[in-house]
Symmetry: C2
Subunit: 248 residues, 2 copies
């Protein structure tokens, strides 16, 4: 959300990691005396951080939210607001204006997977999740796809930056193309040199590289705060809803 200067980058990143590190007592097994609606708002506003799983008591609530109309409506408001902003920009039309899209729960939906795995109540299982990714059958998130097309029409280039590992490059590219995300300037997956690094560190570094080769990041959209925080975040950021998992 805040782009620090180049000079301040390392410090700001270190600070971010600290901010996003799981805090004792913030585990996902607890709804602190409040409704699941309040829990979800706490998650979306970055007040509740570092959680591992959705509180068990909220499985039904999260499932209803994700499968019902509110998730779509909430996503539409974010996408609409992003497009209002994009249209307001004075673009130079030199091919250097860039918009960053995250992939999972931003461009592609893993809801078919999570619906079979407790909507985030079950701990993350890399084996099962990678099997799902390998099918290449994640549907597009409709409001994000609309935004993607509208942004492209304005003359802004697209870069996807995802925490998916590089060995999923081909299936990810195919999945994106099959669902309507037909073009991009960059498709960046997480290389092995970033293994064990947080998404904030990895994604900040990728955005910095893009700026170094001349791109101006005019917008940045993701479902995780770790898509948006850190350095080189872009001129404005947009947070899509995701009550199913937390990535620091």
């Amino acid at each position: 959300m805040v782009a620090a200067t180049t000079q301040g980058s390392d410090h700001a990143i270190a600070h971010q990691i600290h901010l996003l590190r799981p805090q004792s007592g913030s585990g996902g097994d607890r709804v602190p005396g409040a409704s699941c609606l309040s829990w979800r708002l706490g998650v979306e506003t970055n007040n509740i951080i570092g959680w591992i799983t959705v509180p068990e008591a909220c499985e039904g609530y999260v499932g209803n939210y994700m499968l019902g109309k509110q998730y779509r409506k909430d996503s539409k408001v974010v996408a609409d607001e992003a497009f209002v902003y994009a249209k307001s920009l004075n673009l130079r039309m030199d091919g250097k204006d860039l918009w960053i899209f995250d992939i999972d729960e931003t461009s592609l939906s893993n809801l078919p997977y999570y619906a079979r795995h407790g909507f985030g109540v079950n701990p993350y299982n890399a084996t099962f999740f990678n099997e799902w990714v390998a099918t290449g059958k994640a549907p597009a998130l409709p409001e994000s796809l609309k935004l993607y097309n509208n942004i492209l029409k304005l003359g802004i280039k697209i870069a996807f930056i995802t925490g998916r590992p590089e060995d999923q490059t081909q299936v990810t590219a195919t999945n994106l193309q099959n669902t309507g995300f037909h073009t991009w300037e960059k498709l960046i997956l997480k290389g092995s040199s970033y293994a064990g690094k947080t998404a904030v560190v990895y994604k900040s570094a990728q955005r910095k590289k893009l700026e170094k080769i001349g791109f101006r990041i005019v917008g940045n959209i993701g479902d995780q705060w770790s898509d948006l925080l850190g350095t080189n975040g872009g001129n404005r950021t947009f947070k899509l809803p995701d009550p199913m998992y937390y990535i620091s």
Copy 2:
């Protein structure tokens, strides 16, 4: 949310101002094809920025939210999460650990005023609002007061930083004391030198001054993103709900 380094401060602030500047088309007179619930989530997540008034269609919704149980529940989750975090800190107990509280809609509630003025649908009226402030009758926000007391007990000092003008110092101090906020290290109101400056700029500058004299800002809570963004934001920030107005 992100504290930039001292070196990078000016740039980061300039960037923030840009981020928070009202964007064309984001005025409060429009609910972009979506429900008031989605509008409120968009506001709380900082996706909808720069709005002047609550959309007219959402007056009833916002009124019900503010007067009903959900506002209290949502506030409680934030305050509880803040206290869980505060307890997890390794405090040095040297009197330099500091927590920043905003005042309006963070410590004191102006709901009695807003309930008579359309819950944010009516444009801000400085004359009427200052008359209300001058009564000194704003009640404490109960969950925030609990957090304040719990934080004090841990040995953390409190600083209030508010956008209220300095000529309201006495009535603000009395109002705070009468409602249970009985002590503080600093009570900072907006001086005339910051007239016309955004809250992000003014509040960042005040926090920077506090750090310069040796305080460590371990936490920061406010109802506006402009309480939390900018520089010197503190080790962790907490966003309380406020669907009634927007301050950049």
